[in-house]
Structure formats: structure tokens, C-alpha cells
Symmetry: D2
Subunit: 337 residues, 4 copies
């Protein structure tokens, strides 16, 4: 870590900080420059958090040298991680298709379509809450019995079941029926939840918040690993930008960048990102080409009646066509669908 | 509402939609154009949510004519609302200073400084969680006993006490000691929480999410009002943009715009927005000049030891100076501090 | 076009606007609603620009129904356009590789490497200015003799030559040696330049500005077509967002969306977008998978000495490897490299 | 400057870079760490641009310690600069009102209104091109005789006249009639133009590009000063963000931040930023409160007929009212209007 002192910092300021650095077991460095005195601390920068140097009155700025994440990074763990969700390996040679469904949205109707969807390539079912309908006047905005919907779906499918969790207490309620949990982008920085998931130890699909940087995304994953759970799958689902032609902007650069920096599997959600049915095929293909380990697509038995204002779902037939159109690109990436 | 049909939509498509509009009690309109057929629905557009027209296969786009919010808008409620928090009117002639403090951050130490802060002009105390420290390695990141910190502060201050809530069950735990609750930007679109706050009926300070549009912000407030609670204070605390010189970009255009569109009080949080101690005075002044009804500033007895990575707190002395530097601008706005 | 009147608009206001609409040859519509009077104008909305309705004191908002672009859209021109640049078809079955080079950057050295690059698959050479080095202290920031560099390159390559233009007067200076011109994102909305290029009628590669929406991008292309030149190739090179892990955010959703809305060819510039050498391969692959018609990559004989602060160039060897790694994805898209 | 080497960098790599640093007259530093070797260079970092270290194959990242701008910063020039435009001091005790007008927009009609506007407080007249009308179908989009419009206005006003320039050759054409020039946000990073303005030495009003960071903005100003012209006034006119309620997001945090970092005067353009007539008064007040040295507002004799699609102009009467509503805030800031 590099610590740039203010122009008017005194020798005593510098000496005090250097002593603190040494006390914490790091190697202190003193670099008196022409315009500024610069200090350095060599070693594990994480322990410096305790010094809170950014708030020190003599400090102008603090520049970390190393990435703030360790456990999710490739440096100490160069090989790709494989996360097993209900027996399905994510992050290996297979390109995995997650099918999403909102719990309150005609679960019984969807249950009857699951078989077809599974036959056409779906590997994991992810059940969401209904809380991305942002109006008190929206249809279906009222709370529904999420646990009941989960039970119904669990009885009707052999697909591994993943459900969105929003609080630690929910683990106990539904945990036993689940092969994994989903943390939505809205809850990506809920550190109490992340620590809880670290201890609970079922696989976690962690979605990127629409205003979260890649570094913040990886730090949230780091929190789950640091709390004891190595089984995290990252999900890119678009970031908020000035562009309004699409619901959000799908950040495939981030997918490629994360794959180069982290050993964790990464999947892509083209529907939440684009909000447009006609872009699902090209963006799913692009995700496979950029190095993603899977895609997540919402499926509904009758999308016309789906309770969702601003993003579509695919019909079982559209899902089947997507699988066909995706296959050549998955194979070009040396993987199987 | 204007409904633009696709180029290949049939007369039967148009007739079906027009019949649906009529059935819901709105006036249907048929506008056959050169390139497209356009339909209209005159009346309360909120009931059209049930038709889910955006998902209709013959519909190209749906354009609402009216703002989606009614209860928070000035049309039906032209005069400024005044929200009383523990007897303090927010939104009236007085410009109100909210002092923020993180619960886990030396509550006992802060308690001894509250008297001074109150004498210097603080009107309301807002106690936050610690969850905007986004690293598993951050000091103070572990959970603390929020209820205990609240009790301690309640015993040591006569200021009205507002606390951050993240879930409905928390109302019962701490509700009795509070004059109001705070919903952070992270939870701005948690509609289950918003509905709960609508029923609980204590005043709510609702912060804008850093990736939330003004319309989404107002719709979240609308959800609280729609559930029965008229006492909402909006808080602008910056949006995420490409600019990195400041932590976020303070959106004072939004403050001025909201004041023109909504009768609800609006306050501004210059510290969360800018992340820079040296910008608190000019931005608090600018907030008063833009029409805000108050400011929120975090205060800490000894900011050097504060548990916060990326945003500062003011010392009691700095807070006192802020009040002095703010006063001429509050008075220029025809208000009192 | 839908015109929403203000709450206090009078019947005379409405009548005046309806008369204006009729006078311009469109069909006027009167839709008196419960809360607002809404007017409509059916026909070619472009002629309404003259009415300047957004500035009318009785008008609250104006909502266009149709896309503002006609010539670049697929409605009147459903089939893909093919633009020939120096005999190379862009937008057809071949996936085209554009190689970029900055004029002041060792043109003589690069000239000796062109043959190799061409053998490895480069189809078109694009020569840029040096003006994306944003510091007065940057090496190579001084102006160089662009015309001389162009002549030198023209003598040393059989690749079709495209050069960046920044002003109309430049056409005459260099026009004769060129197979096409490039308009950088900085000049994307220079309408005087766009009109000039419409008249000059050599093929134009138009890059998206880093703060330009897709609609603004397409309107700039529309301006070239409206001035008489149908030969435009669009180039996506990233937009500015809050994410800092990459130089910009590559917007492949925009590529897929534009391909669905416009018949013009679209190419992708993964280096300007990401600023990272290690992301060129995955992003070029993703571009091919998303439906792009080609990629643009900057090549330099010795990238270590390249005069560019914030984005890399590939060496001829890296370029050759890129072609190999791209091929399976181009073929999966049913195209040839 | 701090240079972090890659994990696999050799001692020879480090030694080579250290020798280069020494050769350029800076003090080299060697900091071998646990995970990485870090090098330092103490002294004037600007000369290191020649080493192009970011492209060095053994270098992972380069972190500057000092701000990249020197001439515009307060370190070497702590006191506020005052720039005189046609005798009007900008940056001193007076808060200066710039009145903008588009050249092609009824210059003769505007000429007759200038006297009134001047009496009501306008200090400087800025004449713009018409090129922020982004459609080939927009009224008034065709080129007009800018020089003729300038002459007409010059004959009809005693206000100092500033005109937008887009190219170096224009200085000669109109230079003699002007008290200063304006560089629009579109041209903010046209370094050839900036260097030319450095040599021409008339005062320059430099607008921030809507996608430019504060640092890029200051580096553009630095380029003018570095080329010999100290008379630069900065103009904040909003940045592009995801928010669509306003045309752009006015960044008053940037104004306050720039005032703390730079000695140059800063003015604010609330109309280009917000695009909304009703926000001009609150945002102009907020600008004065945030520390701005003036405001720029476009005025038109009859705004209803103005040739501008997406941003309004004030009428002379509205301008007069703005001055009245602004005065108390200018005086609260200890300045005069």
C-alpha cells in the first residue's frame, strides 16, 4: 500500500504512520519526494484496514497495490473452480443452462411445463421472488406464499432447485428442499446475508448489482468464501448506463475480465440485462463466446400472461429454439451444452 | 396510454385490445396511421397494468401519458407536505439538520457528544447500520448489537431518534423507541418493506438508491403512501456515474425537479454523495439553494477513528462550523436554520 | 406523434395545434381525457419538427410514435446492406477484419509489417490521428504530418486504405488515395462533417461516441444517408459507464439491437472499448457471436513503443493468433474469415 | 509514480526500469514485497511519459502519485485567477452572467433585445453554432453564415462578444471582433485546437464534455495553459448519466471540487445541463452557493420560435426575473451580481 502524505504533513506524522505499519507486521517504506512524502507498506494489505489511514489528517490519499480480493482471485488458485449444484457441475466443460421462474407467477402452470424444458436442455431451476416489479399498482406485486410455491415446484421437477434468499432466517424455512440459493443484485452487498451464506454452505449464485463495479462484485463473493463457503457462481445481468435502448447494458467485458482474474464460474442473464426477447439468442451466443460458463433465461408457460412489467420470459418453444441456436457457439468454445 | 401496434398487427388484434380497454372502464381510441395503427386508452392508466399490454404479441410499444405516481405528485396535492418527526416539522419554513451516526461506531463515545451537536443545531438523529463497508476484511464489518446501540443512544439524547430498518420484523423489536425509520438506498425498491412501512405509519426517510431514477424513487415513495402512510421524507444522496473524483454524483437537478413535481419534503446527504469532507459546506449550501428542506450529515466524536472506509464524518466542531457557513444560504432561501 | 397538453391548456390552444398539424398534411386527432387533453398527429412525423411543439407553452410533452430514422431502418429496407470498401464487401457473408494504425506512430516501421498482417487476414487498413492522447505532456501528442504518413502507407500496402477525417476540407487533400473515411466517436455528431460526407460519397466508417445513445448513433448515420451517401459502416467501440475495470463498457447488446433495427453493417472495436490486450480475443469472439460483421483491431510493429497511453495495440504475431482463435466463432455464425 | 511489476517479472526487468528512471533525472526506488516487486520514481512524473511504462511487458500497473495537471492546480498557484473578458473580470468578487445565443437563430431579432438583457445584468455575450440539433430533419440544421451573424451581433451590442470556435483557421476569420472564444464540450479534447488557443491568447471558455471526467476537463485546460495562454474559464454543463428526468446531470460536486483543486474560474450552464426551463432558477442559485463564479444562460427574444429541439432559452423577461431570484444567493456567497 502506498500512502501519499499531504504537503504540510510533518516528520512526526510520517514517523507515527511508519511505526503503525511496522507494529502490524508489514515492512514500512519512507520515500521523501520533491513535492510530497510518500510512505509504503509491504505485505498483506488487508491488516492495514485497522489503521483507517484514509481518515488520517496528514494523509492525502491511499493507493492499494494489490487486488483487495484473495480467495476468489487466480493468484493463489489458478485453476477454474467447479461448483456442483444438485450434482450439476458449473464451471467445467459443460455449458450450463439455468431456467428462471418467478414464484408467484403461475407456479402450478409452470410445473406442467418443466418436463419439456428439462428435455430441451435446462439443467437447474432458479425460483425468484416477484420484487422486481417497481410499482404499487403492478399486477402481482402483492406478496405471495413463496414457501408454498417452492414446495409445489419441488414436487413437480427433478431439476436441482435454487431459490432466491433475502435474509438469513429464510435458510431454515426452505433450506432443506434446495440445492442452492440465489442472491439477487439488489442484495449483492448485504454483508450480513453473505456471511450467513458463508456458514450455511449450500452453493450460491450471486448476481451483480446493476450499479456494482466488478471489484465490488468480487468482494461480495470474497465475503462468502471468507466465511467458509467456496461454492459461488457469479452472474452478470447488466449494469445501469445512459443507454435506454436496452433495459441495462450487458457487460460482457466484465465476464471476460472476471474469467481472467477469478477462478469462479460466471454465468450470464441476457434477459434481465437487455429486457428484450429478440436479443436473447445473440446475447446468449455472445456470452458463450466471451467465456461464460452458462446462461440463465427465464421461462414461462405462457409469457403473454407473465407478471413482469419490464422484462420478458421465453416460452418453452422459444427456449428449445434458443438451445439449438446456441449450440454451435458453445461447441466453438470447446464445450458441451 | 398510447399503444403502438406492430406493422403486421391485424384488425382483430386491435379490436381485442380496444375491447379490453373498454371493459376496464377506460375510453378506447383507434388511430389508424400511415405506417402503424395506434390505440389509445383515456382514463386512469393504473388499471391497465392488468392487461400487461407490453407482452402482447401484436404490440410494439406502450407509452404512458401521465406520470405513474399519483399520491406523491403535486397534481392532486399542490401544497408542500410537512412531515413531523418527533415533533420537528420537515418541509416547512425550517431547514432541518439530520445528524447521522453508525450504530456500531462507538455509540457510547458519540452519546457524550450529542448534547453539543444538538446545541449547534442538530434536529433529528438517524442511526445507521454498518453495512456500507464493502469488504470482508473491513474493520467493524462484523455484526453488532444494533438494538443495544439504539437503546444506549435513546437514553443519552433528547433528539428525535430515527433508525435504519431492513426488514418488517424489526419494527416490533425497536419500534417503540423510534420517532421514525430510515430506508437506505440499498433497500429503496424492497416493496415488501415499503408496504410494511405503509402500515406501520411512523415517518419514513427514504434514500434514493445510487442507481435509481427519479421516477423509480418517487414510485417507491408512492408505495408507502399507497399502503396508508403519508409521512415520507425523500433523501438524495448521489447517483453512480462515470465520474470518480467524488464517491457518487450529487444530483441537485433531481432535488429541484422533485420539488416541482412532488409535495414531499426532500433532504440532501452531501457526505454519502461526495465522500469528501471538504465538499460538505459548498454542497450543503447548494442543497439549500436548490430548494432542499434539510441536510443530513454524519457526525462522529473522533472522525479519525470512525469505522468507515469510503466516506468521512464531521467532528462536532466541524458540524458547528457547517451550521454557521450554511445559515446565510438558508436565509437567502427564506427559511430558518 | 402524441402531444400531451398541460392541465391548464385551453380549447384555443388545442385548436391552434390541430390546425397546424392539418396544415402540414398530417391527420390531426383530438383525445380529451379525464386529466389531460391529448392530441395526435398521424403521418410522417419528420415534418412536425417545424412546429417546435416541445417549446409551445400549452404543451407538456411530445411523444414520437415512430423511430426518428427512416433511411437506416429495416422497415423500408429489410435486407442487409453490403458496403464495398476498396472492393471488400462489408456486411455480407465474410467477417471483415479492419486493422487500425495511428498515423504518427512509426508509419515507416509499420509499413514493413503490413504484408504479414495482410497475409494473416487483415482486409482493410484504417489510419487514425493521434488525438486520443489526452495530456499536453504525452509523448507524441504534437501534430504530425498526417498527409505524409498516409502517402507512405499507401505506397507500402495493397490493403484498401481508410483514414480518419475531422473536417470537410480534408477530403480534397487526401481523398484521392482513400477507399473510405473514418469518423471517430468524438466527431460522431458533427453534422456539418456528416453532411459533407453524404455528398463526397466514399464509404464511411462511423464510430459511436462514448456518450452517444444507439438512437443518436443511428441518427448520425441517417444524416449521411439523407445527404446522399448510402455506404455507412457502424462501429461500436464502447460507452462510458461507472465501471473502471475496463476503459469503457463494450455494448454488444447495442450491436445485436442495431442489427435487428438497421440494415447497415456493424463492426466492433474491442481494444478501444476494453483498453486491455487480454480481452481482445474473448471480445472479438463475442462480437462475432452477437452478429457483428467484422472487428477492428489496432496493430503495431512493436506495441511496447506505441505512442498510446491508455489502449494497447497487438503485435503482428498477436494479430495472427487472434485470427486463429476467432475463426471457430465466425464459422459458428455461418460466415467466413 | 509507483510501478507494480508482474508476479513473474525478473530482477533484470526491475533493474532496467530503475536505470531508465534515473536516466530521466528522477529518484528510483526499489520495494521488494511479499507478492510483488514495486518500484517508485520520485520527482516530476511528467517526464516519465516517455518511458511508456504501462506498455512494458513486466509491468502490471502504474499509479501516479501526484495530479497530472500542474499549471491549473492550486499547489503552485494557490490564489484564484481572474480572467478578463472584454474588460469584465471573471473569477473575482463579481458573479458574472454570460448570455448565450445560437448564431443562426434570428440574430437580427435578438440584436434588438440585447440592450434590455444588458440592462438586466448580462455581462458577456456568447454566440454558439447550431450543431447541437441532432437530426438531419431538424429545422435550422443547415449551415448558416456564422461570420455574418457575428458581425450583425457585434454591431448591435456593447457586450463583450465570445464566439464558439471549432478549428484553428477560424481564429483568423473572426478573431478581430471577439473578446474571447468558446470551446464546446464536443471539442473539449481536440488537442490541436487547444494548442492553437494556447498560442492565440484570447480568453477561452472551455465547456466540459458530457462524458468527460473532472481530471480530463482539467487536463484540457492544462493544455491551453501549457501552450502559453493563462486565461481559461471552465464551464460545467452537465454529464451524461442514467437519469432521464433531466437532459444531463448537473455536477455541482465537480464545481466545488474544481474550485478546491484549481485556481481557474468556473461557471455553470444550468440549461444545457437540465434541459428544463423550470430548473434554471434553482440550479443557478445552487451554482452560486456551490462556489461558481458565474452562470451561462441562453436567451432568445421569442423562445417559442427558437431553433432548438432539446433545450429551452429564456425570454428577456425570464432572464430579468432570474437575476432577481439569484441575487440573494450571490450575496450570501459574499459576491455581487
Amino acid at each position: 500500500m502506498i500512502i501519499v502524505l499531504k504537503r504540510d504533513a510533518t516528520k512526526a506524522d510520517a514517523d507515527g504512520i511508519l511505526a503503525d505499519i511496522e507494529r502490524l507486521g508489514l515492512t514500512p517504506l519512507h520515500m521523501p519526494g520533491v513535492e510530497r512524502v510518500v510512505l509504503g507498506a509491504l505485505g498483506d494489505e488487508r491488516v492495514l484496514a485497522d489503521l483507517n489511514l484514509a481518515s488520517h489528517p496528514a494523509v492525502e490519499s491511499v493507493k492499494p497495490i494489490l487486488t483487495p480480493y484473495k480467495l476468489v482471485g487466480r493468484e493463489l488458485h489458478p485453476h477454474d473452480s467447479i461448483v456442483h449444484i444438485g450434482g450439476i457441475p458449473v464451471g467445467g466443460r459443460g455449458f450450463v443452462t439455468f431456467v428462471g421462474h418467478a414464484a408467484n407467477d403461475a407456479a402450478e402452470s409452470f410445473a406442467s411445463a418443466i418436463d419439456t424444458v428439462q428435455k430441451n436442455g435446462a439443467k437447474i431451476l432458479v425460483v425468484s421472488r416477484t420484487n422486481d416489479r417497481y410499482s404499487p399498482y403492478a399486477r402481482g406485486a402483492q406478496a405471495t406464499d413463496f414457501a408454498a410455491a417452492l414446495r409445489l415446484l419441488a414436487q413437480n421437477t427433478r431439476l436441482p432447485l435454487v431459490a432466491e434468499v433475502q435474509g438469513i432466517d429464510e435458510f431454515e424455512q426452505w433450506g432443506s428442499t434446495l440445492s442452492g440459493v440465489h442472491v439477487s443484485g439488489h442484495h449483492m452487498q448485504d454483508y450480513a446475508l453473505l456471511r450467513g451464506l458463508g456458514q450455511w454452505r449450500k452453493p450460491v449464485i450471486l448476481s451483480r448489482g446493476s450499479a456494482a463495479s466488478v471489484e465490488e462484485f468480487l468482494m461480495s463473493a470474497e465475503a462468502i468464501l471468507a466465511a467458509g463457503n467456496p461454492d459461488v457462481v457469479l452472474c452478470e445481468s447488466g449494469i445501469r448506463t445512459f443507454e435506454t435502448a436496452t433495459r441495462r447494458t450487458l457487460d460482457l467485458s466484465a465476464v471476460a475480465w472476471i474469467k481472467s482474474q477469478s477462478h469462479l464460474p460466471v454465468v450470464v442473464d441476457p434477459i434481465r440485462a437487455s429486457g428484450r426477447r429478440e436479443l436473447v439468442v445473440p446475447l446468449a451466443r455472445a456470452a458463450a463466446a466471451a467465456g461464460a460458463d452458462g446462461v440463465w433465461v427465464d421461462v414461462h408457460r405462457d409469457p403473454r400472461t407473465a407478471h413482469r412489467d419490464d422484462r420478458p420470459a421465453l416460452s418453452p418453444g422459444e427456449f428449445s429454439r434458443l438451445m439449438g441456436e446456441l449450440r454451435p457457439f458453445v461447441e466453438a468454445a470447446g464445450r458441451t451444452l
